[in-house]
Symmetry: C2
Subunit: 340 residues, 2 copies
DNA sequence: CTGAAAGCGCTTACAG
DNA sequence: CTGAAAGCGCTTACAG
């Protein structure tokens, strides 16, 4: 077994007290520079590393952030929504940049959360990430607040609770991308995405979509709105349903790229040309959006910025400061799927 | 500020000693059942959670695994190879299943690794994940071994070092998928993927590919092998180079799905039909492989199994047992990209 | 079955 | 600038 070095070993070698070693390694200004350098050199030579359990116990700070990633309810148990995966990447980077480690935990939205990372002192705060209607878990949020857990969440603002959220301006995104398609001279718009299954994000995108249509004197036909969850398969099925209705449409707006990708497949299999016959747009800008043919025009959610905002705001809360809920704009990414 | 409960608070309420509380909460058989239940009830009522820093410090076990995820060298800083993202998901699930938390850390292959999670006692062991030539970091592996760090890695077996690896049988995968295409009556095979840029995985896939060609009396034309790293863009460029050579080919095997997807785009843009004119196959079976048109035939690496094997083997090492390097088979996933 | 006590390895107020 | 000492909150041998 490896023989563990402690600060006492370093102290012995350096001929100073253990307190001085501790100070030296934390770059305390209290310690003489020469002493500090000598101690640090010895620590390095012996490959000594401060025991985080001991220091966290002492300081009551873990230097760690926990990320609770909620899985899509329909998950087939091995796939994760690529948008959240991308968020995971940016959150990891953002925490590393701040010198924090990241504990990642997958959760079922429905189950009892294992949200006790802060209670167990493994993490200083928690980031909640996942689609879903917050009313489904409002109770949990209330409990987190009651326990004074430091946390921030991704998603739409939660009314009535003092929860710090970072989210995308889904209404604006839905509006903007619909307007883009309108400018491509489309008249008959379908919308694929569940507005009735408890997803405020999707509902906001749909509302923005409808507003854009109205502002441009186009009809909102509720027969052309079909529910779908954020998977390729669900988008595929929704588009098939849409086609089966036999109502004319020349544009499909969707609540997510995954839905759009599935829809594109169904539309093309049915013999339509994209964008010739039907323009299709997504939402998110996942990596795959570049690789479809035609490449998908979409509303990009800036995951890098989102990750940084989430981490920054969480660390503000951890250090006792006040943090504000913030909405990020979605930006239009024009590719080929609704014509040039 | 929240007032932290300790085991002493529980002890006081339960009218027992703190030692008994500790035993009761750990379900020690030493404690009377009635006492145990009462203590546990009180703990639950007060929402008491054991301080992991204290217990980890005491037991010298953290209940945590660290995952070091190496980024592709060419990374644009926000995208992560979807295959590794998928591995990340399965590793997270596998560790949760074993009751371990997962610390995730992104690293540059080239930089000094921040591999001291075990030295700092934040983790009991480490999983290394990323493509790359192990000779590039053999020195690091040697150091990990010297420090008696518990670790396992994803990838090809490392010769000469006692490192536990879990990897895919890339030779067999490359062989199998090439044979599949051969059976589709293709004659002129190109291969896209860097065999000269220090990636043993890619090299093994290429070797399997070549062997399959030889075994079927087909020519291996090194002019039809073009380097590419595992990105859509690199695959796209490689395919354009391939076309520019003006040598006849009717099948493209690739070292990864990402390369295949980029290549498919280039081939189609050049006016060829897939699979009519050119059959294309990938490697990995990332989620996107279902969504291309035509959908990509590929060699699947079972990430769920891989995650479980990595975690299981690491935990074996942590508990002082011996673990063996293991190679998993790749399995053929037939879709549309090389005909029916 | 239970309790008193030692000790895990740090950080930091306190005293000099 | 440095050291001796207390204490973070547990777990577990030891004694009963």
């Amino acid at each position: 077994m490896r023989s563990k070095q402690t600060s006492f070993d370093i102290a012995y070698r350096a001929g100073v007290s253990q307190s001085t070693v501790s100070r030296a390694l934390r770059n305390s200004p209290l310690v003489n520079e020469e002493t500090r350098l000598r101690v640090q050199a010895i620590a390095k030579e012996l490959n000594y590393k401060v025991d985080k359990n001991a220091s966290s116990l002492r300081t009551q700070l873990s230097g760690t952030i926990a990320l609770l990633l909620f899985e899509d309810p329909t998950n087939d148990d091995s796939l994760i929504n690529p948008f959240f995966l991308s968020m995971l990447g940016s959150i990891t980077r953002a925490s590393a940049k701040k010198g924090y480690d990241l504990l990642v935990s997958f959760q079922q939205m429905s189950n009892d959360w294992h949200a006790d990372f802060e209670d167990t002192r493994k993490a200083d705060g928690i980031i909640l990430l996942g689609y879903g209607d917050y009313t489904d878990y409002e109770e949990k949020l209330v409990q987190l607040i009651k326990q004074e857990t430091h946390f921030v969440r991704w998603g739409a603002d939660v009314k009535g609770l003092s929860v710090v959220s970072v989210g995308c301006d889904n209404f604006q995104g839905g509006y903007q991308i619909t307007e883009h398609v309108i400018n491509k001279n489309r008249q008959h718009f379908a919308f694929l995405g569940g507005i009735s299954i408890g997803s405020p994000e999707f509902l906001d995108r749909y509302s923005g979509h409808c507003q854009a249509l109205k502002d441009n004197n186009l009809k909102v036909d509720s027969n052309l709105q079909i529910d779908a969850i954020s998977t390729d398969e669900s988008g595929y099925q929704a588009a098939k349903q849409l086609i089966a209705k036999g109502i004319k449409f020349d544009a499909i707006c969707t609540a997510s790229d995954l839905i759009a990708i599935g829809a594109m497949r169904a539309i093309q299999e049915a013999g339509y040309n994209v964008p010739g016959d039907v323009a299709i747009v997504g939402f998110d800008d996942i990596a795959t959006a570049c690789s479809t043919s035609p490449a998908l025009t979409t509303a990009k959610q800036d995951t890098v910025l989102a990750g940084e905002l989430l981490v920054d705001k969480l660390l503000q809360l951890v250090s006792g400061e006040v943090a504000q809920t913030q909405l990020m704009p979605a930006t239009l990414v024009v590719r080929k799927s609704c014509g040039s």
